[in-house]
Amino acid sequence: MFTAAAIAVLVAMGLALVRAFAGPTLYDRILAVNVFGTKTVLLIAIAGFLTGRPEFLDIVMVYALMNFIAGIGILRFFEYASAKEATSQNQIKEH
């Protein structure tokens, strides 16, 4: 039963990975990374039950946390970099 769920999550992870490779825009990649992270959280939770030691679910918490923080980081620095790119391109045009 846990195996079935684990395999379903793995398939979803594989599909999200394809979207992360294919792009086309960076936002699609960020979305794919986000989905991938959530799926990893589920996979680890299931794996805890699969290996018979579900008391170590603290790890799942770290996964969820880091997924959130990395997602925000990507978004923040991407917005920052594109804003900066726009200003520097304007400066190049002026020169």
Binding site: V11, T25, D28
Partner: protein, 107 residues
């Protein structure tokens, strides 16, 4: 016995939702539809799988940890999804509408 079947059903349904959401992520035509497919099923699937696991929890501490993880996912996943969609919209990416087939801007 009943909880066993219930958790079985929740896990399988959650797994199915995971896969269908991922297929939507892969097959849909533009960013916003993909986002819709991914984030809606994602939250529901995570909830279902976590509930399925909760019914199997061997002790209260495991149950409590699963509840905390679920609350965390329910808080963060829609938030980051919202922020992402907002950032994409602000960057000039337009949803693909039936009357404007080539309106998708962006990067």
């Amino acid at each position: 016995m009943l909880t066993h079947y219930l958790s079985w059903g929740l896990l399988v349904l959650g797994g199915f939702l995971c896969v269908s959401g991922a297929i939507g992520l892969l097959r849909f035509p533009d960013f916003f539809t993909r986002m819709h497919a991914a984030s809606v099923t994602d939250t529901l699937a995570a909830g279902m799988i976590m509930c399925g696991l909760m019914l199997q929890a061997p002790s209260w501490i495991v149950f409590a940890k699963l509840v905390m993880i679920l609350v965390f996912i329910l808080l963060t996943a829609p938030t980051s999804g919202h922020a992402l969609a907002k950032a994409a919209l602000h960057s000039g990416m337009k949803p693909l509408l039936p009357d404007s087939k080539h309106a998708q801007g962006g990067l």
